[in-house]
Amino acid sequence: MREFDYRRAADVPGAVALLGADPEARYLGGGTNLVDLMKSGVERPALLVDVRELPLDRIEVTADGGLRIGATVTNSDLAAHPEVRRRYPVLAQAVLAGASGQLRNMATVGGNLLQRTRCGYFTDLAAPCNKRAPGSGCAAVEGEHHNHAILGASAHCVAVHPSDMGVALAALDAVVSYETADGPGELPLEDFYLPVGDTPERETALPPGALITAVTLPPAPVAARSRYRKVRERASYAFAIGSIAAALDVRDGAVREVRLAFGAVASRPWRARAAERALTGGPASADAFAAAADAELAAAQALPHNGYKVTLTRNLVVAVLTELAEEAAR
């Protein structure tokens, strides 16, 4: 780890000013990913601007009945918040499915969105990795990739985004607010993450120096019946190999509204719009759920050792939507 300067920001404009346009500066939130990456040498900032004490730690009900979640709200506080649990149970479940109690106490909402992939080649400085060292190649395509992407990847990078929270946020049409020296801005979560293409090192559409200030959830009555299911290689404290955030509103056996997003299948939380379109207005049946999953996964491109994710994701869609439909029928 290289030597670095450390500054604590007192307010948002101050934080943005401290960071300035310095490409070697980073905002420090909970540090659960950044400090780890600094230890492994993947990140070598010259300046850390600590934003943990900024007044961005509140969760507020918005005028339209949604929620505005401050960027420094910890994962724990987010998952424990009564309004989150009441209105968006899928979000509380997703957050609780991630990491550990200790890490959730430290990790912030903003940092969670910005966390980097856990691809083993990304964190190994000796390995080729286009995301870490553009142009060096991707070792995973020919190497170990059983937990790599089946959707939206490119020959340059097949890494997956590790966030659970982000999967729920994708399903909930979350909007990310940020601040820059030139003023504030907003990005819907679906536009927040950039396509992989041939620039896997460019992960988000945030302008340089931008500080995430909040995530806003529009009202989503459909989320009253929602669920996050995560599959991993041990029962807890492990990253997903597949996950799904689902919300379902069924009336008289027909799907009125559905939200679906997948985790651990792409470089970003994957909103399953094709599946949603296939389901909306149709029957809430296992066959329809499977057909919808197939519609979404038709674009899947499996590598030799991650094809099981197509099966897994399809099975999760059917299982979770079936559960939600059965509960609705009760």
Binding site: M1, T123, G143, V231, R234, Y237, F239, G242, L312
Partner: protein
């Protein structure tokens, strides 16, 4: 809940639950481990390991690093002191990795190539990252596969291969044949405490505070390496944060000793978790072919087990997987063979139940397959094939309570109600199944010395170079000493983990507590004889020493082992591939149980290792680089709390009439057979045999729900 064996004692400390002697220190954080002993003027060493899998170091660019703040020295093959790794220690020749920085050769990725020492650990880490090492690379080969080119039978051949009868003929004559291949992956010890050593020269002696499984062992090896008189090395290791076979002489002590020598000040070297993947040994991947031939009633006519593991190009290590079948099952024809292949990888080493852990997975899975084909109960199959003498040795068993374990286990687990059909029990999204497997592990003893002192104040002090790596050995030895001295445990102080206490067995091979207890009992008996003569105890106390070499040599030659019956219930979600163990139960015959409280922990801990082996553990190497992918505890999984269901361990009487100690090691038997019991339960749940561990969700999904074979 439990019966214990052994003669009734006047005091009876042995056999009664006692909390740990050092328990208070452990729960308050007062217990100091090797990297936690404070030293003035301490410098911090950070190892640099190779990024190439085969080749030669052509340059270590020290100069820019030496200019960094706080950096004191950079040691590498061009600058390090000479050591001599060409020696034979008590456990044979050392892994050449301890001959640190003696050559420019790089035989594997992760090989130590330099040590950077600095005033602070932050400076040392940064300097180690900044150090440029240039290599000349050569093509490497890390592909492990059964019977691949280069596979050979190591020497001595007579211990690597056994052959009785005509295997092919008996297989041909069998009504039922199982011929199956099994694999286990590369597995790593990962004790929670990383290897750490703090070393300084003090009055002409090399003083080492180290985390190891035998401080006298490590002291002697360091003396040989540095060509020192054995008396001029002292190694102390009071608290050890787990070992599992990995904590012997390793690069960290050698590096710290070199740096302390060069810098004339104390130096600490702690391995990073990532470095532990390549510097401390590991369990090799294994490949097995098990061939069983039986009559229709399940009686074995043919038993064949060929096992293979990988070793490095610089050292041989045999994962002796076929030892299990040489003890467990007899047949008219019985053939076993351990084979090796040399690859460009680090040298593997002993890891909890070396040989028996993977060997039992293969053989006990095959037995379950045989039971299925014969249409008989898996326990009945084992009853039918219970041998009366060592299947290979022909020696009598000193005791073999395996069937008692199965009987007791079946009763407690509720085995009688089991429907043998696979894939028919469903609960929500889960398919349920149960499985069983047998376990055995050798019950050896090695010569040890101990000193017992009657102090003038009426207390007793025991000194023995034992190591408590979490087994509860110190507490057990206190109870043993108390009974041997016929005093309350509170009057006995057991001091361990100091090479100055003299030669003793290491904490390994499930022989530690048995060997140490023997020496303590002998010394205590001698002391009581002296005390019986009367007279005052001098101020320095009255000390009697023991050496069990002769007594152990005089033990009649027999098959001496512990045994166990493992039971597991699992739930498998065929849609997600998730496997959860719902409960486990083990019943063991493992001699006299000294401390039921800590013994339970040893058995259950081993069984939890079985869960990890069955479902989680697998280190992955990249073919292109030859290095590990994701070598950390997020990439290498072992069971977390949520993976561990209620687990019961029980024990049955296990007397051994001609053994004066009656204690057997219990650190390893718990893992033996545990993974097989789980895999057998997965078959029972789903109808799919998983012959390749771990049974990860992707493998369950690939195998499909319909009984088709997994890839």
């Amino acid at each position: 809940m439990t019966t214990t064996t052994g003669p009734a004692r006047a005091i009876g400390a042995v056999g009664t639950a006692h909390t740990r002697i050092e328990g208070r220190d452990k729960v308050t954080g007062a217990a100091r481990y090797a990297g936690e002993i404070p030293f003035a003027d301490l410098a911090h060493g950070w190892l640099v390991v190779s990024t190439v899998a085969r080749g030669r170091v052509v340059a270590v660019e020290s100069e820019p690093v030496l200019a960094l703040p706080g950096v004191l020295t950079v040691l590498h093959h061009g600058s390090a002191p000479r050591v001599d790794a060409d020696y034979v220690g008590v456990l044979g020749r050392p892994d050449p990795i301890v001959g640190l920085f003696q050559s420019d050769r790089v035989p594997c990725a992760g090989w130590p190539v330099a040590l950077v020492v600095a005033e602070t650990s932050e400076q040392a880490r940064e300097a180690a990252e900044a150090l440029v090492v240039r290599y000349e690379t050569e093509p490497h080969d890390i592909d492990f596969a059964a019977e691949r080119s280069g596979t050979y039978t190591p020497e001595p051949r007579e211990t690597m291969e056994t052959d009785k009868g005509d295997l092919e003929r008996e297989l041909a004559a069998s009504a039922v044949v199982v011929d199956a291949r099994y694999t286990t992956p590369e597995e790593h010890h990962h004790p929670m405490e990383p290897h750490a050593a703090t070393v300084r020269w003090d009055g002409g002696r090399l003083e080492v505070y180290d985390s190891n499984q035998g401080s006298k062992w490590v002291a002697d090896e360091l003396a040989k390496l540095f060509s020192l008189d054995p008396g001029s090395v002292r190694v102390r290791s009071e608290h050890i944060g787990g070992g599992f076979g990995s904590k012997g002489v390793r690069p960290h002590q050698v590096a710290a000793a070199m740096a302390a020598t060069v810098l004339h000040r104390p130096v600490r070297v702690v391995l990073t978790r990532r470095q532990m993947f390549s510097l401390i040994g590991y369990r090799s991947p294994t490949a097995h072919r098990v061939r069983l031939g039986a009559d229709a009633d399940g009686r074995l006519r043919a038993f064949g087990h060929e096992a293979q593991n990988a070793t490095s190009t610089v050292h041989e290590f045999v994962e002796a997987s076929t030892g299990f079948g040489r003890v467990m099952y007899d047949a008219d024809a019985h053939r076993t063979a351990n084979r090796l292949v040399r690859l460009d990888v680090p040298t593997p080493t002993w890891m909890r139940a070396p040989g028996e852990a993977p060997g039992s997975f293969a053989v006990e899975s095959a037995l379950d397959e045989l039971a299925e084909r014969c249409g008989i109960d898996p326990i009945a199959l084992r009853v039918r094939n219970e041998p009366t003498a060592g299947p290979v040795s022909g020696l009598p068993f000193a005791g073999r309570a395996l069937l008692s374990c199965f009987e007791e286990g079946a009763r407690r687990f509720g085995w009688a109600e089991r429907d043998p059909r696979p894939g028919v029990r469903r609960e929500g999204r889960w398919l349920l199944g149960t499985g069983t497997a047998a376990a055995t592990f050798p019950a050896g003893a090695r010569p040890s010395t101990a000193a017992v002192t009657a102090e003038a104040d009426g207390t007793f002090t025991v000194r023995i170079t034992a190591a408590d790596i979490g087994t509860g050995a110190r507490t057990a030895l206190t109870l043993i000493a108390a009974d041997a001295l016929e005093v309350e445990p509170g009057r006995v102080r057991v001091r361990i983990g100091d090479s100055d206490f003299g030669p003793a067995m290491i904490a390994g091979g499930s022989t530690g507590t048995r060997s140490w207890a023997w020496a303590i009992m002998a010394a205590a008996a001698g002391l009581r004889e002296q005390l019986a003569l009367g007279g005052d105890i001098p101020p320095e106390g009255l000390t009697v020493r023991s050496d069990t070499s002769a007594a152990i040599a005089a033990l009649p030659e027999k098959e001496r082992h512990s045994y166990g019956a493992q039971f597991a219930e699992v739930a498998v979600d065929p849609a997600s591939g998730e496997v959860r163990v719902r409960r486990m139960l083990g019943v063991f015959a493992a001699g006299r149980i000294v401390n039921p409280l800590t013994a339970r922990g040893q058995f259950v801990g081993g069984m939890i290792w079985g869960i990890s082996m069955a479902l989680h553990e697998e280190a992955v190497r990249d073919r292109a680089s030859g290095a590990h992918v994701g070598p950390d505890l997020a990439g290498y999984h072992f069971a977390a709390h949520a993976d561990v269901p209620p687990i019961e361990a029980h024990w049955v009487d296990d007397p051994d009439v001609d053994d004066p100690v009656g204690i057997k090691g219990i650190g390893e038997i718990g893992i033996v057979g545990a993974a097989a019991a789980i895999a057998n339960a997965v078959w029972h749940a789903t109808g799919v045999r998983h012959r390749d561990l771990p049974i990860r969700p992707d493998r369950v999904l690939r195998a499909g729900p319909d009984g088709s074979r997994g890839a």
